[in-house]
C-alpha cells in the first residue's frame, strides 16, 4: 500500500470517528486542536485503524501514557529533556519542533497531526 492509499484510508477513519468534513482532514491538522478529538476518540480511531489496515495497536502504543506519568520525564507539568528524548524514541512518526519550545505536557496531543497518523500506520505496516 503506498502513502496516498494509506492517507485516503486514514482520512476515512478520521471522518467517521470525528464527524468532520473530508476537506478539514489536511496533513497538518492536529486531531485534538483542529479536528476536536477527545480521549475516547483516540480509542475509537485506534480500533478503526486496526480494522482498516489489519494491524494491532497495543494500549499506550499510539499515545505513550506510561511515559507521560513518569516523574523522570514530566516534572510540574513540563516535559524534561529526558522526557523529550523518550517521546521522540517512542513516536518517531511525530514532529516535536513546536513542543521543543513549549514543554507544557498538555501540548503533547498537538503532535498528533493527520500526517503523524499516516506515518504511524506506515510504520506499523512495515513492521508487519
Amino acid at each position: 500500500m503506498n502513502r496516498d492509499e494509506i492517507q485516503a484510508k486514514v482520512k476515512d477513519v478520521l471522518v467517521d470517528a470525528l464527524g468532520v468534513d473530508d476537506d478539514e482532514v489536511v496533513p497538518t491538522a492536529a486531531l485534538g486542536a483542529d479536528l476536536g478529538a477527545e480521549s475516547i476518540d483516540y480509542l475509537d480511531i485506534s480500533f478503526r485503524l486496526e480494522k482498516a489496515f489489519g494491524i494491532k495497536i497495543e494500549q499506550g502504543e499510539m499515545i505513550p501514557e506510561a511515559a507521560l506519568q513518569n516523574p523522570e520525564f514530566v516534572k510540574d507539568g513540563k516535559i524534561s529533556d529526558a522526557g523529550m528524548a523518550e517521546l521522540k524514541r517512542l513516536m518517531p512518526y511525530a514532529d516535536f519542533s513546536a513542543l521543543e519550545e513549549d514543554r507544557n505536557v498538555t501540548r503533547v496531543v498537538d503532535v498528533f497531526t493527520v500526517d503523524a497518523m499516516v506515518k504511524f500506520v506506515e510504520m506499523k505496516l512495515e513492521k508487519k
Partner: protein, 172 residues
C-alpha cells in the same frame, strides 16, 4: 422512578452479544410531557429517542461489563452513531440487540439494532427502529491516572438483580 431502561435480558453470550426488551408503558411519567396537549393538539405520548439510546447503552454496557466479569467500571463515553426510522408508542415492546465489535483494556466499541413489536399491529413481526453505535470506557484504566472509588458503582444491585431475574446468574 428508577433509571432502568430495559426490563429483561433475553440473551447474553460472553464477549459477543446481548439482547434485551423494554415495554413502553403509560405508567412512565415522562410520556405525559413528551408530548403534552398544546392548544388544539392532543397529547402525543412518544418514547423519547435519547431514552432508546440509554436502553441500548444499558444493554451494551452489561455486555461489555460481563465480558470482563464485571471487574471494570464501564461508562458510556461516546455515541458514535444513532439513527431512527420510526417512533415508538406506549403499549409497544422495544427489542435491543447489541454486539461487541472490539474490546481492550481501555474500553470497547459496540453496534446495536433496535426493533419494535406492536401487539396491536397488523403484523406480529418486529420493525426496525434504528441503529446505535457506542463506545465505552473502562474508567479505572484511564490515561490520566485518575483514581475512582473502589466499589463498582456502575454495576449496582439494580443491574445484577436484572441479570439474575432474567436467568443469567448475576454474580459479580
Amino acid at each position: 422512578m428508577r433509571w432502568i431502561w430495559i426490563d429483561r435480558i433475553t440473551a447474553l453470550e460472553k464477549g459477543l452479544r446481548c439482547a434485551a426488551v423494554k415495554n413502553v408503558s403509560l405508567a412512565e411519567e415522562h410520556l405525559h410531557d413528551h408530548f403534552p396537549a398544546v392548544g388544539s393538539r392532543k397529547a402525543m405520548p412518544i418514547m423519547p429517542a435519547p431514552l432508546i439510546i440509554e436502553g441500548m447503552a444499558q444493554t451494551a454496557g452489561i455486555m461489555v461489563g460481563h465480558a470482563r466479569d464485571f471487574a471494570e467500571k464501564v461508562i458510556l463515553a461516546k455515541i458514535t452513531k444513532a439513527t431512527f426510522e420510526r417512533d415508538v408508542f406506549p403499549g409497544q415492546t422495544l427489542i435491543y440487540e447489541a454486539t461487541l465489535d472490539r474490546i481492550d483494556a481501555a474500553g470497547a466499541a459496540t453496534t446495536g439494532t433496535v426493533y419494535v413489536i406492536d401487539p396491536a399491529g397488523a403484523s406480529p413481526k418486529r420493525e426496525l427502529v434504528g441503529v446505535i453505535e457506542l463506545m465505552f470506557s473502562h474508567i479505572d484504566q484511564n490515561m490520566k491516572g485518575l483514581a475512582f472509588p473502589e466499589h463498582n458503582f456502575v454495576f449496582t444491585d439494580q443491574f445484577m438483580d436484572l441479570l439474575r431475574n432474567s436467568g443469567f446468574g448475576g454474580k459479580r
